[in-house]
Subunit: 716 residues, 2 copies
């Protein structure tokens, strides 16, 4: 009666134990990991929810002694839907509203050709499995089995501990090749600005799709300043009014862009179901949040609780001063570099070309030191943020990024500020901006996409050549591969871990191996940072170097393609992150927009070109002009930010609809209020016998009205 | 079996038709109002909800031909509770959360000695009755009965039309004397700053309580600047640093105050159950909002709909330019006055004391013209806002007030700005600020509380004297009272309106007459405006006149008492308004705080006193100092505003709790999801016979796990 069809892969009575649904996660254990630890985790992944398990499928790759165990994790469609409901995944209903997926009302969500198979996107499947894996937490266990020294705190994520202690070497989702190919082909074919955002979101998740959406949007923004900048350079504009116009236009344009983006982003987040994720006390506590276990007053769940004032105190008393010190150090370094350069120029005058040879040494040393400083600063920022012990992941990320961005800002822009406002050399500023903008972009492209690919290709070729050599000449083996050490040291060394194995010929084994060699994609931080710095170069000094927008535009068109290539072909499949906006970056860009108003107004009033164009003004009038201009633009900006609502009207309407529906549902659940109940209640309180009103068969108010009516009728 | 006790006043079978619960509203009809119109409204007030009625009690005062009908409106406790639930009134539950009143769960709200009698405060009772009266809307009627020319649009409030067309002469809630006396005695006895806010709220409603809360809070704020200002004057401080310190301290202090107030106000609003009133499309449409009837997409209710872009277009294309023109006119007028004064001073030099006689003419003329302009401007603002046709009452109020405040700001402060930054005469500025602050405050106190009382007392004495004369000498009557005109002109002139009458000796008749002679209390606008102008005088120019804070403090202590007296003894009982904050005033005060930063920094840098204290600086350095100082303070302000959360932690927690509870309730209402349902669904989709899984009696996932377990056990 049953056939061995594709559908049956899901069913528990499926034909072979090795036959499981497509692999979603691959976990590679350390080859030195102790047997108990490995078994403990695998058991928890498979066991029932009530025993703290994740109820997922696990199959291992064929085990070879001396190699770490590699397991493939998967889930049935039923389980995935269950998880989706539990994690409050939001999907579009047939009505067009975005609501939490509810299995009971599943039919509402199956529209437009969606079936039970396709209702969850690859990103959502991946998210669900990851969510369950992360949801495996320490219960009554005090430490990692087999490692008495590795303590758990109650509620700590087991997988996190394993990753931190390198019991798990790597853990990555496996690409879904056919879907990926579809996304990739769409992407490359599309005209240069419009990335297939919904497809990207379905495969890579919201945070990456949001990045590409922002990048496209920002590139579009650059089009107008780029054209204006080009026109200004070609026409060689020199008049005061046109010069000012360009600068002011740019500043307003940036504000408009950021406002429009905020609305656009809100629309995207709504469509993707990530808007209004719970931000209150109902929000999930960050994994690894430390604190004594206490009941959450809102949800009544047992959670680690850490007093907020301690976080605040750590933040303001330690972290902020530390960051301040680092910034000071960076500034000092920058000054030193300039000072050294000046000295060398002095020497050059005295000693000629020998000193000229050292002319570039200070900036080279400065660059190297900054690179080093940056490396350690990142570690410091991560450490400080972890130590501050924020309650939610969102806060944690926000504070870590804020720390990093401040430092990057200082490192990248302080020298420009120094040139602009201390040395006041506009030509030097202009060339410096151009150099930094163009050179860093070139390096980035190379470093980001081409280098890893080339390196991997070369490594693969090399290792396969070595392997070939080895197979021909076994005596070489000890020199290239380390001696296999005993894997399981608890007596039963040779015995494999008791877990069902995949078929030897399963193509997933090869795929897992290939993708395991790729670099993991951590997050969008570096990509946004690149945009942020570019934004700074373009808009902070746009009044002295209008061509910046043009170069930035060119770069971004290329960037869109490089990033797409990187994601689809060079990196491991990234794990899905949900987000409703670009987070800290929105604030950063807005802040930069405000700083740009001050710098541009100042540059305008200082520019010798402009001063020549209007020679009638005295210095004090120039300064006053700066004050007036800056205030006017800032007021305009504020008014614009305040007048434009953050949510587009259609999103507001949809949210209102959802809120209204749920309010009505709640009210109907509470039951219909009845007048009778109310009046009965009154009677019983006032001691009037209930039979009195009962016999009349009407409620008091109705009776009153009737009585009134009759009285009036009598009066007529 | 039944006794004629006090409790029975509520019961429909009560002893006499004249015996109704305490009067809440008094409606005085025009004596020329046509009979049909009066009868129509009375019938609608009394009739059942399903016929569009309000289900309230109506009793008239004994009717005398030639006098307008006076009716008393009241409601049973049951009806009041019903309305309270329908209007989503929020009350504190026993748990301490503030939730919508639900009759079903009434016991939750009865705690701390509250009974069914006292659960609704006087303000809430008044609010409920007013809400029902306003809820009487035109249905199929095309026009006011008896007046074919007065058209209704569907859904228009009947009472509003009657008031606008003066068919109703006045309509006011009646004081609850015993409660009022309790509030008043508490108020006068309390030490000068702490008004009994909760009692005020219970009796006068949220908007008035909010005003007093703000006033107390603001007065407290003034304490520190007042002391510092006094100290500065007494110690005759002259040093640069201390002078600057005072100014900067004041600016930061204002910001801190506004932030703390925002949080405090949020806490009050939460406790009073007005926080988070629906602001979306679910919010009630403003009465008198015009537009074609259309179903609201969110609530599906039939509502007048007016395209938002039209409102926007009217606002930006007509209203904003009109306001701009008026402001220009006011500025022009101000300049003219200064110009005229200058000319007269010139003449004085030439012609001596004769011209000196005219020296004060320009400012007197200016004051008179501004007063007149203001009068017409208020009408213009009301007309424009009505014409803009905002959807909600909140938007309407906001836009009306914003228009008024802009004009008041210009009228009151433009001359000071002119003196400070154009004439640059600091001594003149100082004396001008002092004069305006002290004189206007004196006038206000007199005008506000004493004058109306004196006038009313005098009028009462006069009219009673006349009446006495009349009763002794009836032949005088035609000269003092107008000849009674026929009231009802539709044939049955003498016949009274068929409505139950109050007893002749009912004390409420006398009370209604007395309170009908009092002035109605419109809204808190004038009171806030007074504070706003004072705030401006104190903080905009605090660096030249530090004593302002001291005078303002003195005034406010007096103001707290005068306002209390005015409300309790001089005015009619105000109708209750709900509010969650001080609305447009919060924005106004914040804006003023920002402007104050600019003015104070500028004044500091211009002050000759300060310049003498630090003579080493050149003019350009002073200007740059202004720029730096202003930017630093503004950045500090922004950071503070951004760092301090608007809601106190406890309010956020409470709101989270409520949201979480309602979410959980909604979820439980949707029913428990079952694995069985999901798996069955899958089976039916995949065509696997349901008996297959049924016979096993377990769900697929469970079965899988079990199977896995057994496989593993076999492996061991």
């Amino acid at each position: 009666m049953r056939t061995d069809s594709d559908d049956d892969r899901d069913s528990p009575e499926g034909p072979g134990a090795s036959h499981i649904p497509p692999t979603i996660y691959v976990i590679k254990f350390n080859r030195n990991a102790r047997r108990q630890a490995v078994e403990f985790l695998l058991e928890r992944i498979e066991s029932k929810q009530k025993f703290g398990g994740a109820e997922l499928f696990v199959r291992c790759e064929p085990q070879t002694p001396g190699e770490g165990l590699v397991v493939h994790v998967s889930a049935t469609k039923i389980k995935l839907l269950e998880i989706a409901e539990a994690t409050e995944l939001q999907k579009t209903t047939a009505e067009g509203l975005v609501q939490e997926l509810s299995v009971r009302e599943l039919d509402q969500f199956l529209h437009g050709g969606l079936t039970l198979e396709t209702i969850l996107t690859p990103a959502e499947r991946e998210y669900c499995v990851r969510h369950e894996l992360d949801g495996i937490v320490a219960r009554e266990e005090q430490c990692v089995p087999g490692y008495p020294s590795l303590h758990f705190f109650p509620g700590q994520s087991v997988v996190d501990v394993y990753l931190a202690e390198e019991l798990i070497v790597s853990m990555y989702p496996l690409h879904e090749r056919c879907y990926l190919d579809e996304v990739a082909s769409n992407w490359y074919k599309s005209i240069f600005l419009s990335a297939p955002l919904d497809k990207i979101r379905d495969y890579f998740g919201e945070s990456i799709a949001m990045y590409f959406s922002f990048l496209s949007f920002y590139t579009m923004l650059l089009l107008v300043p780029a054209i204006l900048g080009l026109a200004q350079m070609m026409l060689n504009i020199d008049s005061f009014s046109e010069y000012t116009f360009y600068a002011v236009f740019n500043l307003i344009w940036v504000t408009v862009f950021l406002e429009v983006w905020k609305r656009h982003c809100c629309g995207l987040a709504y469509r993707w179901g990530t808007l209004e994720r719970d931000t209150g006390a109902g929000e999930m506590v960050r994994r690894n949040h430390r604190g004594e276990l206490r009941r959450n007053p809102v949800t009544n769940r047992l959670e680690p609780h850490y007093p907020q004032w301690k976080t605040r105190a750590k933040l303001y008393l330690v972290s902020v001063p530390s960051v301040g010190l680092c910034v000071m150090a960076a500034l000092y370094l920058m000054m030193m570099a300039f000072w050294a350069e000046e000295h060398i120029i002095d020497w050059k005058k005295h000693y000629g070309s020998i000193a000229g040879f050292f002319l570039n040494v200070p900036s080279a040393v400065y660059a190297a030191v900054v690179w080093l400083l940056n490396f350690y600063y990142r570690k410091l920022a991560a450490f400080l943020t972890e130590w501050e012990n924020h309650r939610t992941q969102r806060d944690h990320d926000w504070h870590r990024m804020a720390k990093l961005v401040v430092f990057e800002f200082v490192n990248n822009f302080s020298s420009l500020f120094y040139i602009a406002f201390y040395i006041q050399d506009m030509d030097m500023l202009c060339s410096q901006v151009a150099t930094m903008l163009i050179v860093t972009q070139m390096i980035n492209h190379f470093q980001e996409a081409l280098l890893p690919l080339v390196v991997r290709k070369a490594y693969n070729k090399f290792s396969s050549a070595v392997m070939e050599q080895l197979s021909q000449n076994p005596s070489l083996a000890p020199y290239v591969a380390p001696v296999p050490r005993p894997v399981y040291r608890d007596g039963v060394e040779a015995q494999p871990i008791p877990v069902l194995s995949l078929d030897h010929k399963d193509p997933r084994i090869q795929q897992a191996k290939e993708e395991g060699q790729m670099d993991p994609y951590t997050d969008t931080y570096d990509d946004y940072l690149e945009m942020f710095l570019q934004f700074g170069y373009v808009f902070l000094f746009s009044s002295v170097y209008p061509m910046a927008a043009f170069w930035a535009l060119l770069n971004n068109v290329l960037e869109l393609k490089t990033d797409a290539f990187k994601l689809c072909r060079v990196m491991q499949r990234p794990s899905v992150k949900k987000c409703s906006d670009i987070g800290v970056w929105q604030n950063c860009f807005e802040l930069l927009g405000c700083i740009a108003v001050a710098t541009n107004c100042a540059l305008l009033c200082m520019s010798p070109k402009l001063r020549r164009a209007a020679p009638g003004f005295s210095t004090i009038e120039w300064v006053l002009m700066f004050v007036v201009l800056e205030h006017l633009i800032l007021i305009g900006k504020m008014a614009l930010m305040w007048l434009v609502p953050d949510q587009p009207a259609w999103v507001r309407e949809a949210l209102d609809k959802i809120a209204y529906h749920s309010k009505m549902a709640l009210r109907s659940e509470r039951g219909k209020r009845t007048r009778r109940q109310l009046s009965r209640r009154f009677r019983s309180v006032h001691g009037v016998p209930r039979s009195g009103s009962r016999s009349r068969g009407t409620t008091p108010v109705a009776a009153t009205t009737a009585a009134n009516g009759s009285v009036r009728r009598r009066d007529y």
